[in-house]
């Protein structure tokens, strides 16, 4: 009984601290359960909550599903291991994304140095229909329907390929803004750069992407 009371009191304290530190309360409780009790279920729930977003963020940056899966694992492990060092100056979500982006960009730099890049076979499949659809979207004055774009698998692959041709820092800022929907301040926080840098970098990234898409 006393033990159970102690547990509950501990969790209440965690919730209070979490609120103060802008951490999602549910996240804080799950982490506390894992740290204190070794509750594997708590970790699974935490992972289930973030794995999708982090995996997609990493996948869009590195463009390799296997690498993305393993980098996602690394990111979440790092989050769990370093949760005690999280100071709460930004949201937990931004903090986790910063770890993911740093790990992914570091890995890509390292991969380029080691020379594994040749093993990443770029999809060379040409799809004329997708190209025509893309050209129509770029020419047409009407705003394309996102649902139509999402349903066109070949067109999505073409867009993904165009994103993949961007430089790493341009690709990252485009993904954070246009896919993750972060505002400029959050992006600056994740990347650890000034707001003006985000503006200019995003502007250059979109200009490059526009040219790549038009060239496809």
């Amino acid at each position: 009984m006393w033990g159970g009371f102690g547990v509950e009191a501990g969790l209440i304290r965690v919730k209070l601290v979490a609120r103060e530190q802008h951490i999602n309360v549910e996240d804080a409780v799950l982490l506390e359960k894992w740290r204190r009790d070794g509750d594997a279920g708590a970790v699974e729930r935490l992972i289930a909550k973030y794995q999708g977003r982090i995996y997609n963020l990493i996948l869009k940056i590195c463009a390799n599903p296997d690498d993305a899966a393993e980098l996602t694992q690394d990111t979440l492990v790092k989050v769990i291991e370093n949760i005690d060092g999280f100071e709460g100056r930004s949201s937990f979500y931004t903090w986790a994304f910063r770890i993911a982006v740093n790990l992914t960009l570091n890995y890509r730099k390292r991969k380029a140095t080691v020379g594994f890049a040749s093993l990443d076979a770029e999809s060379a499949g040409d799809d004329d229909q997708a190209r025509q659809a893309l050209a129509a979207v770029l020419r047409d004055d009407r705003t394309p329907d996102p649902a139509d774009v999402a349903e066109n698998r070949e067109l999505c692959e073409l867009i993904q390929r165009a994103i993949g041709k961007l430089e790493d820092e341009h690709r990252t800022v485009v993904v954070l803004r246009d896919i993750e929907g972060m505002d400029y301040a959050q992006i600056a926080d994740v990347l650890g750069v000034e707001l003006g840098t985000v503006k200019s970098r995003l502007s250059r990234a979109r200009a490059a992407l526009r040219q790549i898409l038009e060239a496809l």
Binding site: I47, L71, V174, R204
Partner: protein, 335 residues
């Protein structure tokens, strides 16, 4: 509007698109859009790009993600492995597999190449029917062939003289048997024979000049049995030759001993003229007359006649002098 020269305009448009501008800046951008069509067009282009990217559907994370994280946590707590080590391991395995495939392909190629080389070296030669090269000096008719000693056709290239000796005799059987026996017993020459069992034999003989001299000397033992003897010296020009009719053994020797073809041809011509004159003069008187009375008139150098003694000694073998004479002996029964 040149956007490359004014990057701030594009930056402004992006911020406008993303809702990051103050209301004052928004009004300014709207004014620019209204005034400049190129700015309006660029804004639409940027908007479409942004929409295309944001329309990408999210991917499903792999199901084994959770178990992978648990394992990583266990490994980290056990102090095993560093950052990216597991990714590197997978990459390394892929790399190793690719290298193994390439190495296997290279090995297969090398084995194929080695096999081809070895087969070329040790493969059995194709069965080639020995070619009996017979100079059709008499008649170009096909005769049954009876090869006794094979002469490689390639040896022709080492010959320095190509000759034919046409012999006609009334006693074909005896003469032919003699010639055959003579050639058989002559270890210093190589020959092949083509016979039509009735009245003609063609012997192709390859020997040295000294061997030919011995052969002719031996033949002189039956020379009296020849009704006619014609020695033909072939030239380098196909179809051109000098025929010495009623040739004597010593004349043949004298012709063949000439080193150069020109010398052999000249000697043959001289002997041909000489023999013709002798034939034309009754009992050779004209020749004797010319010789004694007007020796300076005979422009033809007198060949040195050898004695008629039969030689029985074997020809000294000089390996460097082998197969330097190619002689066709045609023995024909006189009809």
């Amino acid at each position: 509007m040149n956007f490359e020269q004014n990057p701030k305009i594009e930056e402004l448009l992006n911020s406008y698109l993303d809702g990051e501008l103050s209301s004052q800046d928004c009004a300014e951008v709207q004014r620019l859009i209204g005034e400049d069509k190129s700015i309006a067009l660029r804004l639409r282009q940027l908007e479409r790009c942004r929409l295309l990217v944001s329309s990408l559907p999210p991917a499903e994370p792999p199901a084994e993600l959770v178990s992978g994280i648990k394992e990583l946590l266990r490994n980290r707590s056990a102090g095993a492995g560093g950052e990216f080590e597991h990714i590197d391991r997978r990459r390394g395995q892929q790399h190793l597999l690719a290298r193994q495939v390439v190495a296997a392909a290279v090995m297969i190629g090398l084995f194929g190449l080695m096999g081809a080389v070895v087969y070329k070296i040790v493969s059995p030669e194709k069965q080639v029917t020995p070619v009996v090269a017979v100079q059709p000096t008499i008649k170009p008719e096909v005769l049954p062939v009876e090869t006794k000693k094979t002469v490689a056709a390639a040896e022709d290239k080492t010959s320095v003289g190509l000759y034919s000796l046409r012999l006609e005799t009334a006693d074909f059987v005896a003469v032919d048997a003699f010639v055959n026996k003579l050639l058989d017993e002559s270890s210093w020459l190589r020959y092949e024979v083509t016979k039509d069992g009735r009245s003609r034999s063609i012997y192709r003989v390859l020997c040295s000049r000294a061997g030919l001299e011995t052969l002719v000397s031996d033949l002189s033992a039956v020379w009296s049995k020849f009704d006619s003897a014609t020695f033909v010296v072939h030239t380098d020009d196909v179809g051109k030759y000098v025929a010495v009719e009623q040739v004597r053994p010593e004349q043949i020797t004298d012709i063949v001993k000439q080193d150069a073809l020109a010398g052999r041809v000249k000697a043959a011509k001289d002997f041909a003229v000489l023999n013709t004159v002798e034939q034309a003069s009754p009992e050779g008187r004209m020749l004797a007359l010319v010789d004694h009375a007007y020796p300076e008139l005979t422009a033809i150098p007198r060949p040195v006649l050898t004695s008629g003694e039969k030689r029985v000694a074997a020809v000294p073998e000089n390996p460097s002098d082998r197969v330097r004479v190619d002689l066709n002996i045609v023995v024909t029964g006189h009809k």
